[in-house]
């Protein structure tokens, strides 16, 4: 065995430790206070009191119900819409320009989309303005219409769908790369099936397994999102995760105990929903096979497939307009009701907010760059270790990567904060970077692992035969040849970091302000023009990272056609 291969064996272990320790320690750190054990606050007695307090909370059942309802609905609809869109759009040219909207939406944080959506669908918002007063007769915004923070959570479901549909489209796209989807579709059509029917009967089953973990991540996030919940979900009672976050932020420290119980309950709820979803998949698989064997050539009715595709297009357009509306607000001097565009334009808001925003941008960017750089270095070490040790871990390891995306943030971030307080690190920039790394690392790894593993191993063998050392192969061959996927992975890491709310809040002990934490704070009633500045920057930063990630390799390899 090659010398130093022992040291390489440490790379995956160290990486797993760095990003799973906070999850494990944090979960334990949440579980203990949920059982009334928190020495820092003088609570040493084990008891179920926190659970009793939680159970006595009026509206708890409603909070639980909202959490389940929003999560399951948002996930099922996002999956249905994303798949219908792909089944319909396939090779159609008309779908190309809409597909161009996907990437910017992926880069835009949840919070920015939620704030934008809140304006678009508000009674005084863009949609109403577009048809008022001409069609509705509303010369003032209707006061009896509740469209944002509605008691059913519909606005939150919509807000989640706008962000999850593009995400699932991206995941579907990369899963489709790995199966002969065109050939499958063509053989279905040759047997007389309509294209959309053939897609659902033949192509979907072949990508289902690869889509499973991303869908679970969507389900876990949709059930337990605090940031989107604060902006779009009903407030009284709120979804469970928002309730827990509210108590954690309470001045009354005794609230920590029922808060921890609520956070644990949220974890169990997500676990239960994931198990139920998995069982649902098994049932659907049996029914799906029957459906295939019945041989009906028009199994998916044309109107249904068109409607699904229409919803997909609507999501992309609505998401984009949510973002555009906020960008317009940032340069609006006045924008009165019923005007579809601002009455007066100007950069006053930018000038006024400039100094404060600049500091926040600096913090946000530094956290993003630091966590993405660390994640990139760790992932390179892990993937290089695979090459040196000639050992590719099994698909099960993929589950470990998804752990931080499947465990609800609220269920471990408080416990992680307790650990950070113990170490005296809470509120430090470094602690926040670590918390960000937990979420950035999985995405960076998922983004770069496939291209890395797909690189033809014969390049390295050729180099070795020419006398190049393994380090030389890494620096002179592998990294330069993979410059583009590495840059894209880095940009993805930055985008994830910029959008993080709860990790910043908890690890930063409320003292580290990023664009996202500021935007959530502002969302509760501040001037829309100021919100516009923050949400614009929230998406501009990740977009700039992606633009650089595409431009730099293109510039570096402008004379190398095969590197395009």
């Amino acid at each position: 065995m090659a010398p130093g291969s022992r040291a390489w064996a440490a790379a995956p272990a160290a990486t797993l430790a760095v990003f799973l320790l906070p999850v494990v320690a944090g979960t334990v750190g949440t579980l203990l206070p949920a059982l009334n054990h928190l020495p820092a606050l003088g609570a040493l007695g084990w008891s179920l009191d926190p659970w009793r307090t939680l159970a006595a909370q009026p509206g708890l059942a409603r909070s639980v119900q909202l959490s389940l309802q929003i999560g399951l609905l948002a996930t099922a609809l996002s999956l249905a819409i994303a798949t219908s869109w792909v089944a319909w759009a396939g090779e159609r040219r008309a779908s190309r320009w809409l597909a161009g909207l996907v990437a910017p939406l992926i880069a835009t944080p949840h919070v920015a989309l939620a704030i934008g959506l809140a304006f678009v669908i508000a009674p005084s918002g863009w949609l109403v303005r577009a048809v008022s007063p001409a069609l509705t007769g509303w010369s003032r915004p209707p006061t009896d219409l509740v469209t944002v923070r509605d008691p059913w959570g519909a606005a939150m479901v919509l807000g989640l769908i706008l962000k999850e549909v593009p995400y699932l489209l991206l995941m579907l796209g990369s899963a489709l790369h790995q199966v002969p989807h065109r050939a499958l579709l063509r053989s279905g059509v040759a047997l007389g099936y309509r294209p959309a029917t053939a897609w659902f009967k033949l192509v979907y089953p072949s990508v289902h397994a690869q889509l499973r973990l991303p869908v679970y991540a969507v389900l876990a996030f949709s059930m337990s999102s605090v940031d989107v919940g604060l902006i779009l979900a009903p407030g009284n009672p709120p979804p469970l995760a928002v309730l827990a976050a509210r108590w954690f932020a309470d001045y009354d420290l005794q609230r920590y105990f029922p808060a921890a119980a609520a956070a644990v309950l949220q974890g169990l709820l997500v676990l239960g929903a994931l198990v139920a979803w998995r069982l649902g998949e098994a049932v659907a698989a049996v029914l799906g096979r029957r459906w295939c064997e019945r041989g009906r050539r028009a199994g998916v009715p044309v109107p249904a497939s068109r409607a699904g595709a229409g919803l997909g297009a609507a999501c992309l357009v609505l998401g984009t307009s949510a973002w555009t509306a906020m960008a317009l607000w940032s340069v609006a001097r006045t924008w009165r009701y019923a005007q579809v565009l601002p009455d007066a334009w100007g950069l006053a808001t930018w000038a006024e907010q400039g100094p404060r925003v600049a500091a926040t941008v600096a913090t946000t960017a530094s956290l993003a760059l630091a966590s993405a750089t660390l994640a990139l270095a760790l992932c390179i070490a892990c993937l290089e270790a695979e090459v040196r040790r000639r050992h590719v871990p099994s698909a099960r390891v993929l589950w470990l990567l998804y752990v931080p995306l499947l465990v609800p943030q609220i269920a471990f971030l408080y416990g992680f904060q307790v650990v950070l307080v113990r170490l005296g690190w809470d509120g430090h920039w470094g602690a926040v970077t670590w918390a960000h790394l937990v979420f950035v690392l999985p995405y960076v790894f998922l983004s770069m692992a496939d291209p890395w593993r797909a690189l033809d191993p014969r390049y390295a063998r050729t180099a070795a035969a020419l006398g190049v050392t393994p380090w030389g192969v890494l620096w002179r061959l592998r990294l330069p040849m993979l410059l583009k996927p590495l840059a894209v992975a880095f940009a993805t890491g930055c985008a994830v970091s910029v959008g993080l709310y709860l990790p910043t809040l908890f690890a930063g002990a409320g003292r580290v302000a990023t664009l996202t934490t500021e935007a959530v704070t502002l969302a509760s009633g501040a001037d829309r023009r100021i919100m516009g500045v923050y949400t614009f920057l929230q998406s501009a930063l990740p977009l700039a990272a992606y633009a650089l990630a595409l431009a730099l390799p293109a510039l570096r390899w402008r004379h190398r056609r095969d590197m395009a």
């Binding site: 090779e91 002969p180 050939a183 499958l184 063509r186 053989s187 059509v189 040759a190 047997l191 007389g192 099936y193 309509r194 294209p195 053939a198 009967k201 033949l202 089953p205 072949s206 096979r289 295939c292 064997e293 019945r294 041989g295 009906r296 050539r297």
Partner: protein, 220 residues
Amino acid sequence: MSAADALTLREIRIALPGRVLIASLSLAVAPGAVVTVMGASGCGKSSLLAYVGGFLAPPFVAGGEVRIGALRLDERPPHARGAGILFQDDLLFPHLSVAGNLMFGLTAALRGRAPRRLAVEQALAEAGLGGFGERDPASLSGGQRARVALLRTLLSRPRVLLLDEPFGKLDVALREDFRRFVFDHARSLGLPTLLVTHDAADARAAGGPVVHLDAPAGAA
């Protein structure tokens, strides 16, 4: 069960930007007969099948009439043409059992789970694959997979059979066997069959007329 209508192609023209692949091709295939189209790779022979099946996508530009009897196929969407096609790869659907694959192909006109199962089992038995229904397609040999792929196409009751080098990937011993299997079925069902290949042995086995697509026809 017999298709009993001839396949006619009239003045088929297929081009890429700046290059004409097929200038004008007309031919007729009688029910149960096999016409072989031969040529080197890149001559447009697979594009011709794709045009008949309705799968030819840009940047290809194509025109010309495709008819089965009086029925204009080129005016219909691909799924409504009844053009059964076999590729070099068998493309068995990996998520369905062997019987599931055949039931997927079997025309929906035959209703009910039991009669559909029966039809599939009979087809398997006739093909020497009795009892294979519940098997995972991945557990079959190359020759068995090829036969299942043909059965799947035939059970959909196509109007015409298009063969896109379906023998190319089989080893020599199996090839002979499968060729006979395909041509016997096509003949007994009276299917007009269009075979595309670059292997002269395929053309000999098919026994019908051979059209060469090379050179003169392609030059613009």
